[in-house]
């Protein structure tokens, strides 16, 4: 529910930013090199953080922050179609602290001085990532758990030939698969809303999210289709260590050397997995941004339906009423119609069903016990280091402790945040 003070509207959209002075060529080259360097650095750090459960929370959080920037950028571009300068140079982006891609460790460039600025990146990434992964797990834990149970129970039935109970394994598995597909109709948009609004509770805003999904079915269908080749790539990567059985030189290595081989395998392929993870999530944010505008324009959503942060951003761009109507194509109109939404919904359902089947087939070729069923790197935690325990020396207890530690860190962040607010009031 919005406070009355938040409900003010700007009558006219902001003027386009003035064109700045022309930059010297050598400055442009230097900036470009720095930008490429920053890009590679952030990519590298992302891959490093994908190597453990604990640091993978940071990747989720960083990705959510990048999703927020992506949506803001789309909204800004829709109100500045002829802007001479780019989004990152705009005053608006600076005000929103979205001029640059989020940092991994430090706070944004507009960060305050002192420890909050130094560690702002780590804290934000971890907090947002924890909340993001928590919400995703709430929805996916049951279907993934059912699929896992169906697999184990089903094959126990086959091994012991207790066919009297053959329906149990099949029922568990099919129920899990059905629930998984159902969840995937909702999950991408809900994640995007949480990421862009910066409010974890908006993940559960069924009423608003449902309307966003309805207005974004075309994009969500494309996202589902994009998931298919992405999953093929990731599952292939997950299974390639199977081929090492045929290389006697590798098999003859010591345990420590084999560990290093596998570690470097996951690290090098992590560049692909992280890139796919990021691209798919940015695409989801892009879809959300478009769907939000359509809903606002059609009056299906109003100011009271928005999170305060969403309202502020959209209001500052005069998009509360959806903004100017863009030239739509007949195809886009058809996508938004009932038959179009039905076709898109079918595509979404079949695509995610195919994803579920692919995951199971991949488990046959190379099983990743538990992890292979309950965590898909492109949907949940992007942790992609599948080193067997007998090589890494880890145990299930150790993995559990990582999650416990993550929870403790989250609690400390929460406590620290409250203390900071209390100090501010005083």
């Amino acid at each position: 529910m919005l406070e009355p003070a938040q409900a003010k509207r700007i009558a006219t959209p902001p003027p386009p930013p003035p064109a700045g002075p022309a930059a010297k060529p050598e400055n442009m080259l230097r900036r470009r090199v720095l930008r490429v360097g920053a890009f590679l650095w952030k990519w590298l750090v992302g891959v490093v953080f994908c190597m453990s459960w604990l640091t993978a929370f940071m990747v989720v959080g960083w990705t959510y922050r990048a999703m927020q920037r992506s949506a803001f950028k789309r909204w800004w571009k829709s109100t500045h179609p002829n802007a001479p300068s780019r989004f990152r140079h705009s005053e608006w982006a600076r005000e929103q602290r979205q001029s640059h891609w989020p940092n991994w460790l430090l706070g944004n460039r507009e960060r305050p001085k002192g420890p909050r600025g130094w560690f702002g990146g780590i804290v934000a990434n971890f907090r947002i990532g924890f909340l993001g992964l928590f919400n995703t797990t709430v929805l996916l834990c049951i279907p993934c758990g059912l699929i896992l149970a169906g697999w184990h129970y089903g094959w126990d039935i086959s091994f012991n030939k207790i066919y009297e109970q053959s329906t149990v394994g099949a029922t568990l598995g099919f129920s899990g698969m059905f629930l998984f597909v159902a969840v995937m109709f909702y999950l991408p948009m809900a994640k995007a809303r949480q990421a862009v609004s910066g409010d974890w509770k908006r993940f559960y805003d069924w009423r608003v999210n449902r309307r966003l999904i309805r207005r974004g079915t075309g994009g969500l269908a494309m996202l589902a289709l994009a998931m298919l080749p992405a999953f093929v790539v990731v599952l292939f990567i997950k299974n390639t260590p199977f081929l090492y059985a045929y290389n006697p030189e590798i098999l003859a290595q010591t345990t420590e050397e084999q560990f290093k081989i596998l570690e470097s395998h996951w690290f090098s392929t992590g560049f692909i997995v992280f890139a796919l993870y990021l691209l798919l999530h940015l695409f989801a944010a892009h879809i959300y941004a478009g769907a939000m505008r359509r809903c606002l324009r059609r009056g299906e959503l109003g100011p009271r339906d928005l999170a305060p942060s969403e309202f502020d951003v959209l209001d500052s761009l005069a998009l509360i009423d959806g903004g100017p109507q863009s030239a739509g194509s007949p195809f886009k109109s058809w996508l938004l119609s009932l038959p179009g939404r039905c076709v898109c919904g079918t595509i979404v359902g079949l695509s995610y069903l195919a994803v579920g089947v692919m995951v199971l087939v991949a488990q046959f070729f190379m099983i990743h016990p538990i992890q292979g069923f309950v965590n898909q790197p492109l949907l949940q935690s992007p942790m992609v280091s599948y080193i067997p325990f007998h090589l890494s020396g880890k145990t299930m207890g150790g993995v559990f402790l990582e999650f416990v530690l993550a929870t403790v860190i989250m609690l400390l962040i929460g406590i620290g945040g409250r203390l900071a607010k209390t100090n501010q009031r005083h």
Partner: protein, 393 residues
């Protein structure tokens, strides 16, 4: 016609007076580590009791070694080794025919047969041990048996080869729930006690079963086998839920066959350890333990039966090994032609076999065929392996 392969008239074949042979396929695919390693074995009866009673070959392999070893190029050597498939059907036929061959499902060989993805309906081109035995001696069909698991109808194909001098005339019989069902469904249809829906279902099921095993679809099973199934039905009924399950079923079939059919040569194709393909290590280790227990029952039954006591040779051998891939959470999940999947072992015990001997040289799985022939008194002329002389006393 090659010397020693002249076809005798059936009536002239002498009766068989040699030892009985029980071949135990310790399958489907087991590593040395979980079977014959002192500390990690899941088959203690095999390793700690049976090996003392016979000749043990802990370094048996499945490898076309001559050409492979001759090649100095490592890549060419690996390629040559990988031409041999290490799997259950192939391993069974390597044991039975004494030759290493590449096999393809009959669906891919003949136009009139539907292809099966990953099918293992292999037709041996060289005669099996059963055919050698029955061609040489007057041993009836029902006394040469293959005991198969209920979910492996493709192994019904291993009862005879398509060699022009041997073949179906000298085939063995098969005991399996697949065979039982094909007999039972026909019996139920003949009895006419089923309702329309059940009749339709049984007719369709029977049609499917006969299409799977097209070679003997029209041939009745021998009367002794029919009597065996009638007794089985009397004991366990029609629903399939009362009899033993999995590899325990094979043990039960074998024990009952020994009592009523008295096979002179019998092969028991255990296979449940192969369930580890689906990723559960306990299926593998439990499967090995169940086979080990089955071995104990079989040895006890042989020692208790005057027809078999002191007159039976056991040949215990895996069909293939399994992978040992340290990069996988379940290193032995599969058995697709890796080095470790070619590493097996063999144990021979019984009369005429040396006791307490461990042969520490590399031998081949195909050597078993001529060795069994030597024990039983026939020449496996088309087998390519040698005789494991160390085992023969």
């Amino acid at each position: 016609m090659a010397a020693g392969l002249k076809l005798p008239a059936l009536a002239e074949r002498p009766s068989y007076k040699g030892p009985n042979v029980v071949i135990v396929r310790f399958g489907g695919g087991v590593r040395r580590l979980e079977t014959i390693h002192e500390d990690k074995t899941y088959s203690p009866f095999l390793l700690k009791e049976l090996t003392k009673r016979g000749t043990f070959f802990p370094r048996m392999e499945i490898a076309d070694t001559e050409d492979a070893l001759a090649s100095k190029d490592a890549k060419a050597k690996r390629k040559k080794e990988h031409e041999l498939n290490t799997s259950h059907g192939e391993g069974t036929l390597y044991i039975l025919t004494g030759t290493y061959r590449r096999y393809v499902d009959v669906g891919w060989k003949y136009d009139h047969i539907d292809e099966q993805l990953l099918g293992a309906r292999f037709e041996a081109t060289e005669p099996t041990l059963f055919e050698y035995l029955r061609r040489q001696f007057n041993v009836p069909e029902h006394q040469t048996l293959i005991v198969n698991g209920e979910d492996r109808p493709q192994e019904e194909f291993y009862s005879f080869s398509n060699h022009h001098l041997f073949g179906a005339t000298f085939k063995s019989e098969t005991l399996s729930l697949f065979r039982y069902k094909s007999w039972l469904y026909q019996r139920l249809l003949d009895e006419g006690k089923l309702d329309e829906k059940q009749t339709r279902k049984k007719t369709e099921a029977l049609k499917t079963m006969r299409e799977l095993d097209y070679r003997i679809a029209a041939k009745d099973q021998p009367k002794e086998i029919i009597a065996f199934w009638e007794n089985w039905r009397r004991l366990y009924g029609d629903n399939g839920f009362v009899n033993e399950r999995g590899d325990r079923l094979l043990t039960d079939l074998a024990l009952k066959a020994m009592k009523s059919l008295q096979p002179r040569m019998m092969m028991i194709n255990y296979n449940d350890p192969d369930y580890v393909h689906w990723g559960k290590p306990t299926h593998y280790t439990r499967g090995i333990a169940i086979i080990d227990r089955g071995l104990r029952f079989l040895v006890d039954a042989v020692e208790a039966d005057p027809f078999y006591r002191d007159n039976t040779v056991f040949v215990i051998v895996p069909d293939c090994g399994r992978d040992s891939n340290p990069f996988m959470s379940v290193p032995f999940q599969h058995h697709f032609n890796s080095k470790s999947s070619r590493e097996i072992w063999a144990l021979l015990i019984g009369p005429g076999i040396e006791k307490g001997v461990v042969v520490d040289r590399t031998v081949q799985q195909i050597d078993l065929a001529k060795t069994i022939g030597s024990v039983m008194g026939f020449e496996a002329g088309l087998a390519e392996g040698g005789v494991l002389e160390e085992a023969i006393s």
